[in-house]
Symmetry: D3
Subunit: 294 residues, 6 copies
């Protein structure tokens, strides 16, 4: 169950309201790198957590923190919109030189929300909850969370670079710091569970016999030249300590796929043949392909 106190986790000040920056901030609310996503992601991971309860607790704490981050950003958007032009005339008059502001706004900030934040990204695309990753596998989830906080911190850093409003820079300095910690904490769980050696491959509970192990540590080259890019991933021990990296040119191990002809009344054209008469019979490779053009 949840509680609130109506106060902001960190002060939100806007000295020079800028409706374009309001649009940019939306990415941190409803974007795939944003706070609705991490909030719901940590919550759903917690609510579906099967395993040591301390990870559930940890997820719940941080998921709860993230609600407050959405709150801060939504407040920042509303404050950045307070001087926004509401009409095309007003806009043209106010910005004869630097370019029309209203042109670049998320118009839903005027038309739909009355100068307040929406649950959308910087392009006005609504948040889509398919981005709530909760796999039931603690290691996969921790990587997903570290990923979210990495692109999230990149976003916060870029937003900080975009503005010169001191209040906004200050607020973003706080959010950048929290993203630093959150990257650390999810990766710290992986370390606590034994690190790459113990945790990889994810899931680590699959019987080895069910995996075709000769392909498990080989980098496949698909360059027609036969070259493959070399690096840590082509030589040395694998990160899980169970194999040795190598590289090989990828070759087809299977043949051409062959599907049965369409069944009668399945909605195909007559010319596509009928069931029982495999299409390849009348169309073998020699017949259907020209020789190599000069």
């Amino acid at each position: 169950m949840f509680y609130m106190d109506g106060k902001l986790q960190y002060p939100v000040r806007v000295e020079k309201p800028n409706p374009i920056f309001a649009r940019a901030l939306q990415q941190a609310i409803g974007g795939v790198e944003g706070e609705i996503r991490v909030c719901l992601q940590y919550m759903f991971q917690a609510w579906g957590c099967r395993g040591p309860a301390k990870y559930r607790d940890m997820l719940l704490n941080t998921g709860t923190e993230e609600i407050g981050h959405i709150e801060m950003l939504a407040t920042a958007v509303a404050l950045n919109l307070e001087k926004a032009p509401l009409s095309l005339q007003e806009d043209a008059a106010a910005n004869p030189i630097a370019g029309a502001v209203l042109n670049g706004m998320n118009l839903r900030h005027i038309l739909s929300s009355g100068l307040a934040a929406t649950a959308e990204d910087a392009n006005g695309v609504p948040f889509n909850a398919s981005h709530v990753y909760a796999s039931g596998n603690i290691a996969a989830d921790m990587l997903a969370n570290a990923t979210a906080e990495s692109s999230g911190r990149a976003l916060a850093v870029r937003l900080q670079g975009m503005t010169d409003d001191p209040g906004m820079k200050d607020m973003l300095g706080f959010l950048v710091a929290r993203d630093t910690m959150h990257q650390q904490q999810w990766l710290a769980v992986v370390e606590e569970l034994g690190g790459h050696q113990a945790q990889l491959p994810i899931p680590n509970s699959h019987p080895d016999s069910a995996e075709h192990a000769r392909f498990s540590y080989a980098f496949f080259g698909h360059d027609v030249s036969g070259m493959v890019p070399s690096g840590r991933w082509t030589e040395g021990a694998s990160l899980d300590g169970k194999g040795t990296f190598s590289s090989m040119r990828s070759e087809p191990l299977g043949g051409e796929p062959s599907l049965a002809a369409p069944r009668p009344d399945s909605g195909a054209q007559q010319e596509q043949g009928t069931h029982g008469a495999p299409p390849s019979a009348a169309n073998d490779a020699a017949a259907r392909k020209q020789g190599r053009p000069a």
Copy 2:
């Protein structure tokens, strides 16, 4: 530029076609854990790659491999659908005991694609390319890729457990192995670049002065009881070696947010007040809240 040879990377055999398993396999094609996603993700990362070219090469090789994985899975779906019922009567007749098969099918496999794969997940939800993560930051992207291969391998393992068709188990044993390698290779890049110590926090190019460092290594507790879950993330050196983990109870550092009253003609109700007369004036905290109920 790209080429093909029309052959399968690995053989795809289906001994006992099962339309429900065809639906399940769709998750590996068009699901967020699936192959369209990783294919496009590695491609877009490669095409936008700014930095050492070998990472672009590596991404392009593996992105190209993934097209072949979609091909294998699409073939597997089509083969699993070859005996599917096309009518409700046919279905009821064929499965008097085990339950109607058609009931559980992705009906678009009959109605829209003529017994072939679609670009959807196991629930028939079309792939949405917002899941193509390409951040312009190599470390964030590598974590995103390791995440995708972790949930992808969990999916492949679960699909392998769902079927008892030997051909399908064999094909999935190959895909599981490739996911093992792909997890390794993305994390190997992080290691090659210096590991957590050098790469965290992501982005590692942000000036420290822009971050409120006192919040960068502290776990925030949001439990009203004041308890915080302890672990690697609450004590010891941080993973980047720049700080020490601690925990603190989260307290609001900001006050209640205060927005201006709606502007005239902005589409609010009259009762919401007018610009210049801040709503809080007539509604201070004392007046607007009851005392604590018994």
Copy 3:
């Protein structure tokens, strides 16, 4: 800022786990009538609230309550999945008579989440935050909220009717009661603000002169027979007390729309004409239409 205590607002018990009911419950989590929607909706209304602060407080309290409702439902989904079949063979063996269970499951409950809730509806369609309605107009928002709680209570009632698990019926009895209250509370705000008389039309701040008032209280009939359905909306005083209901047959007040021909190089076909030569010149009504067929 927000807090939690890790406990459930109301007990969640499942005596007979049923994976099909788990799928049904998803509608109350990620469906348009569900709890993620109302949670975010009340939060965004609160965070963008311009006007008397007590409405912000009220929204924030109830938005916070709704997080706990998602938590209850996510727990209920996970508990209903605990005995779910994980393989097609297991499924066929367990349910020879009553029909295959796995066929009807949200397969992502097995493949993606490891037997836990997802942020989706009963069809596996992810929640889409375009349903977060926050208009900046208090009256419009209150109606939106009453709407959400009405379809939400209809959903809870239908879910209660679908199950015979005592624990689930009990939990839903609580949620039905909360939906009752929430319907009341949003409509109570409208009453407090003066009811229909004062609040309609929404927004009530628009100058009358900007509205073509002769169409403001007339029901338009579009039935070719000329009949119009009569009721409270065709006679008597309007609900805002400013007019009298009437009905009229709808007639076109405008003519046929006339667009300019496509501009050169705008990507049209040559046959669509060129700018300056209006297409209607060569295509007047007499020429382009046949007489009435017998």
Copy 4:
């Protein structure tokens, strides 16, 4: 069945074509507050109407009117686009002072539709039919419709304020009036059916015994301070006349949720434990949480 006459319900004139206003008008076509939505919503409610046929008739009449509103707005968009720049050079030349126009356009108006309307909102997000609310419950539907017309009228008012084109102001004055009537007519149905007293709670057909009535009229406070916002919703008779409003501090009535450990081969990590050994055994509350930090 449906008919048309090719004429506009109300004249659509544009004196000063403005491509930015064309973008804004899209919100009234394909936005969640727009006309495609209400058109389909009233139609689907009519087509699924179970109950007195006059409501079906009414819905069908107004749904049919709304098609004509989409037509008016689509015409307005096309007319506003007739002078739009088609190239970046043209744009820069034409607007040296007031700011680039093309920058702010919905580029699909040039690239995809040839200077005509699209089925999108003001941000270019396509209409999503999940917004077609038709619940099978007449009262829930009437509230949904009144909501749609409230946010719709707010949108029309805001669009009217955004433009100074006399033709556009005139057309919007008509649409504002129709929204006024439509708000009235849906709420008039609720009044005709007995008003709040008879209709609440929605659905009003649920047996009281299935609802935990002690929570049905209580406002729950979730503020950690224990304060609750007071108003009409915390005192006096409830709107349905069946209860009395009160307020109470929300307390958890359930305990911590406890899920079983993951099942073998369900794709979890080994460290998450095994079925039968509940994770809480090794992780009781005392062990897993630190004391309160200073």
Copy 5:
């Protein structure tokens, strides 16, 4: 402007209600091959029609017909749902042998719409208006319409094959016939405008000089074997009479793409280099790629 008469274009009878067939019919309502799509598509093409007015008239007539098709199908869905199970017990009792019906239903038919149609496809995915194709080019639009009616007729044929209800077969026999006509009518426009010879390539208004004509009639082979599939598209006059088909092996005409290194403070990792120092300098092809593996 639009009108209705409340009657069905063709009778809709259901003798044996079948909730699974109700789900299947949804594809014809809200699927990409369905009637909402063609209705809106023809309407938007008409409303944006720039060119001979008779095509606008034609589009408007058929778009209006399609509303009535949605009406027929929505009625068919509602009638197929009238005996549907509402609870899991009811379902298990009613279908001990043929398999659970409720398992296979679109649960929103029970939970969200009260046994009526939704604006979704057969998988419960809501209609997305990005499928409304209206390009501003009459020939492109006619092909798009013929495409929609082709997949639409395939769908109707497949639905007809799925059911043995005489009423449903009869209704679908009407819809199949209308799809036949609609395929014809859109292609007849292309013929009227001069057929392939005059209309191709689409758009036919582009100056030839802007196109690299030597690639305009050549089939490109991408098979590593050098083989290309031969057919009408590799020999003979092109369909527009302006060229001759040939085939050639595709070869890269460009080199490797080279992007600048990331800019400082753009959110990349330090290791990705800095602006001015092109990454390729330190990573030439020889250095970054291994030789061909054996």
Copy 6:
């Protein structure tokens, strides 16, 4: 299986980077007329191809070509972004006269991708794979492909008109040519299979008896005036040679639809009646409709 060579199919040069043109180019990557769509569409058609194998080969070749087109466009986007402003100050300083550039950018090009392409359209809406049309019917698919290449070529032509960068004009001249060929090749398949005469109606495998043939070649007029637009589609032989075009005024062949009253406990209001008492009984047409208003 697939291969690559890391080179571009055609050179991509950008002389004057323009971030607004980068946004426009996105339509050709992730728009419904774009290259991700055709790439996946041809691939899925190939992988599901049931019938003569040469069509599978052809689809696979061209699908493979299209990957390289995405690559070219993604490179073009990245190059157009290389001088983009990263901050609002930088933007204002650089463009005092011509208007702010950053205002018009896809802000995700800065915030999410680090100045590289995304898998989105020109409005920042992510690609949605529901646009991958693969019907299992070769003729329907060929029309779908010709449609995609028609709107795709219209898009390429419009993009070419939008820019005056010589490199971009050159690259687009290549893509326009490829679209010309691709239109030809898909329509050439229809010709090879016998053209309209043999292929229509699509599917051509449906028994004539299942279609109500008297409606198969009649244009239906829905204009209340009784007029119908005449053209090739109202007279002469049908394109399939099986009928003669005619026109008729559309009349309802069915009556008013009549649904049963809601079932008890199905979540309707009490006032909607009960099962067994058909609502029309108490609401016949005479009673429920007013006479014709003056």
